[in-house]
């Protein structure tokens, strides 16, 4: 204690002398990892749905029909990418559909005041971000459970929409605003589909290739351990709520543009479809693992099933039975298989 030395450079305990043996980087080759992956299973399901659909209806393979069918999933999938990260981190946001409602209402309100398309975009993204910030603040600032908080804000956000609109609707969006939900970039390729692809790529890179994505996975596996490893858990989670809000805002712009009108019931029930898409995509609902490619394939599967059933004149609600069964089956089947294997072994 008596020593107060001049500052000296610490002797660096760097990895100079090796005492043990070196471990190989990877146990399995990328190919064998892919062969055992969830994504492959999903791809097979997707291929099967594709084959069944194209045999069942001659209209399925029509490029324009297929192009139309992408609207079944592009908007939901854009939210699902952000939701995937949120669920991987161990949180959830059930208010996404209500954020769409509130955002769309805000845009509709702005139209009445004469806002142009540029303004609408700013408002759309801004309101989405603000809603995400509100959720994130409640969850990380007060340490509240996100499932309850977002059940609350789910009512609150849509409730605000109802207060503003009641049983009325906003219409009269500017003509050039229609591009986001109805425009084509090239031939049958819609603007929304391009946006979907870009967003998928951005989120895939964010989750799988950046230190932020690594922090998200670490938090989902062990939030306390992540905190003890120097990760700023609250900040990461807050950012994820912001991103989910932002993507809900983007989806609100596309959907409002596509429908050309805002009612408070817009996107009703979407939160459950988004969560289903994420879980179907192989993201663990308990957090910690999942991939964006998986969610992309899940989006295609759900979109194609909807489209195929539509061509066969099967009502949407029957489609939902199928999705519900799929959701439970994809989670239960691996467990059943594991239990059977364990049973045989002992």
């Amino acid at each position: 204690m008596s020593l107060s030395p001049p500052h000296t450079q610490p002797p660096s305990p760097g990895p100079v002398e090796a005492s043990g043996r070196s471990l190989p980087d990877r146990l399995k080759s990328p190919l064998s990892r892919f062969l055992g992956s969830w994504e492959l299973l999903l791809l097979i399901v997707a291929a099967a749905v594709f084959v069944i659909n194209s045999n069942a209806s001659p209209y399925f393979l029509d490029p324009w029909n297929l192009s139309d069918a992408t609207f079944n999933f592009t908007e939901k999938a854009m939210i699902a990418f952000a939701m995937a990260l949120l669920i991987i981190s161990g949180e959830i946001d059930l208010s996404v559909a209500s954020i769409i409602a509130l955002t769309s209402t805000a845009m509709g309100f702005a139209v009445q005041l004469g806002a142009d398309t540029g303004m609408l975009i700013v408002i759309g993204l801004g309101v989405g971000l603000a809603c995400g910030a509100f959720n994130g603040f409640l969850v990380t600032g007060f340490g509240l459970p996100s499932i309850v908080v977002t059940i609350g804000t789910m009512s609150l956000f849509r409730g605000l929409s109802y207060i503003v609109l009641g049983d009325k609707a906003y219409t009269g969006y500017p003509a050039d605003f229609a591009f986001f939900g109805q425009g084509y970039v090239w031939w049958v390729i819609t603007f929304e589909f391009v946006l979907f692809a870009v967003v998928a790529l951005v989120f895939a890179v964010l989750l799988h290739r950046t230190s932020f994505g690594r922090a998200v996975t670490a938090i989902g596996n062990n939030p306390v351990g992540a905190l003890f490893s120097g990760i700023q858990v609250a900040r990461v989670k807050f950012t994820l709520f912001l991103l989910t809000g932002l993507m809900s805002g983007v989806a609100a712009i596309c959907l409002t543009s596509r429908l050309g009108a805002t009612r408070p019931s817009i996107a009703f029930g979407w939160e459950l479809e988004v969560v289903t898409m994420v879980v179907l995509g192989g993201v663990s609902i308990l957090g910690g693992s999942g991939s964006i490619p998986g969610v992309v394939i899940a989006a295609f599967v759900m979109g194609m099933v909807t489209f195929g059933f539509g061509l066969l004149n099967v009502p949407g609600i029957v489609m939902s039975i199928f999705i519900g069964l799929l959701l439970i089956a994809v989670i239960a089947l691996p467990k059943i298989a594991r239990q059977l294997l364990a049973g045989r072994r002992s």
């Binding site: 204690m1 030395p5 000296t8 002797p11 305990p13 399995k28 950046t210 230190s211 992540a226």
Partner: protein, 517 residues
Amino acid sequence: MLATTQGIGDAHPTTAGSDRPLLSLRGISKSFPGVKALSDVALDLYPGQVTALVGENGAGKSTIVKVLTGIYQPEEGEIVIDGKPVRFATAQDAGTAGVTAIHQETVLFDDLSVAENIFIGHAPRTRFGLIDRAAVIREAENLLERIGARIDPNVTLKELGIASKHLVAIARALSIDARIVIMDEPTASLSHKEIEETYELVEQLKAEGRAILFISHKFDEIFRIADRYTVFRDGQKVGDGKIDDISEQDLVTMMVGRSVDQVFPQRTSNPGNEVLKVVGYSHPTEFEDIGFSLREGEILGFYGLVGAGRSEFMQALFGVTKPSKGAVRIDDRIAVIRTPNEAIGHGIVYVPEDRGKQGAIKGLPIFQNVSLPSLGTTSKNGFIRLAEEFTLARDYTRRLDLRAAALDQDIGELSGGNQQKVVIAKWLATQPRVIILDEPTKGIDIGSKAAVHEFMAELAAQGLAVIMVSSEIPEILGMSDRVIVMREGRIAGEFEGDALTPEHLVRTAAGIEETKP
């Protein structure tokens, strides 16, 4: 219901010398993926006697408790009560057979009342088969009174301190008329006075003819209250007998399996400049006025009983919790530490005691565990450079001689000792100035233990400042240059050189006055 009858003791007259075991375990084996937790273990418990179960962490003590209470089902072997073989498929079966356990961290229900905790699962009923609340309270009062506990049966359990929770657990044991009572380190976090009361209670249970399995790390109490001992090492029984027939030294040797002083690496300490200085660190409820300094190349031990506030202080120093007062100086400059991230930035890292919760990120592969705090250096503009990440992980796991199949193996698949190596590798990769190791060898196998000790010595020799929190006297004595003893959230003493003796440490930690000859 026994609760109201005063005299179990009358029913089973007590002669502390009964030679017929009430309960016997024969040839019990239990394994988990990759680990043989128990192999061919035997254990006898006698009525009216206390059998001490002795063994290092990871020797299989907690597994045997789980077998006895029906949580685990052994693959081989049998449990015999009163000469008849029994099978415990569930915890309920064990309870019905009269076996109950009082755990170190009480496994009771914080949000239920004391009375409900005592009677959950076997509450007295009214004529209509409903729980008789009045009777629950009344009988709980009786039981608590019988063990001399002044606890209101109506209060919620979470309002009680640990000692009182133990008493509730004991009352629960009496309520099911348990003939076999397992006490798993019941005095671990109790004050001196509370410990004495616990001993009295053990005597009472003994006098009532119950068989008691007493798990403890404290040799003084083993020799004070136990009649018999059984020693476990690495999942096997290595000895048993009457406590009067063995010396403390022999018991330790039997438990450790080798003589104590040869376990630790020989090192000559050569402390350099002061790196860390802590002044007046305080917290409203956990610790107060902690101050010390630490030099390069020094290993500073922190000894104390469980619950003395050592881990709590270390976590504050690492920025997990916020101190109310105090300052930290690193290299004689004030360091503000409000988050672990800032602590790491200042070169302070912490290998936590709770490896499963705070150390290893199970679900992530080894290399990602190692690089987690160093992501800033293995990434560029936020994008991860995988090759550098693997290089970092390869170098540091090699230094620690990690045993694993590959760097992309899930850390959760490794043994405790290898997980600990990954956690230490993770921190070394950040090139720290000060490394805090909190119970670094708790629950890991002997081989890894020695490796961790050697590595600590090597780090100190390279000039790293090391703080080691440990509750194991041999480890503290074997590794530390200097030892600070904490008691009830304060520094109770500091020892080095000739003053660094087991006696001094134990007495200071327990708050026992020095008896001058």
